[in-house]
Symmetry: C2
Subunit: 125 residues, 2 copies
């Protein structure tokens, strides 16, 4: 609840009610972003475990068939939520690219250390 010293430059020409509406919208956006960040933290915990399983069983970091299923499903969910399906697909690709980077790092760690003992925080290089 800190009142941030907001940007007088961008909003000084507008009336108080408009500024209040803008502030309220931005607070909702900030709340949503906090929720999404925590969701993504949880998501990377799951993909970290997937990466460790894959490394342990010598599965490839990327899985094109699984990714096609995810994209298809997310596009359908996005359409139902009135979110641009093209954006939803771009979003998933953005996340998957990061996950694959993690999986490659885990696989490299596993290859370098056959006891497979490193299971710390996400190593996003």
């Amino acid at each position: 609840m800190t009142d941030q010293p907001t940007t007088p430059a961008a909003t000084e020409g507008i009336g108080q009610s408009v500024r209040a509406e803008l502030t309220a919208l931005r607070q909702s956006i900030d709340n949503i972003d906090a929720a999404v960040v925590h969701m993504l933290a949880e998501r990377f915990k799951a993909t970290q475990k997937v990466g460790e399983l894959k490394a342990e069983h010598r599965l490839p970091p990327a899985d094109p068939a699984r990714e096609r299923e995810q994209i298809k499903r997310l596009r359908e969910l996005a359409a139902g939520a009135h979110l641009d399906p093209v954006f939803a697909e771009k979003f998933l690709n953005f996340i998957i690219a990061e996950v694959i980077r993690h999986h490659e790092a885990i696989a490299e760690d596993a290859a370098g250390d056959s006891t497979g003992g490193s299971a710390g925080d996400v190593n996003a290089g």
Copy 2:
């Protein structure tokens, strides 16, 4: 890409318990993705309204000071959630780029509808 028959190849060499663990993790990932997609749909509803307010009051689509605040806050939230802050910042930049595209489109629509016709208010770079 064309539809290919699903590839059992990726997981056929692993045991049943490992496959079950992988499936459980992927179900969690899918649940999280569905939640995030719906969050993002709600977020774009809010930014759509922000875009309309900005267009109506001739505010620029981008707001660098606001973005700096958002990035700083999200990096802090990410650190607290054990999510890579660098990734959180990349993620926010990815979303903001999409939002600015929307705002530019709204501003262009508003400029096309306005009676004045004074050009060059929006820098759609």
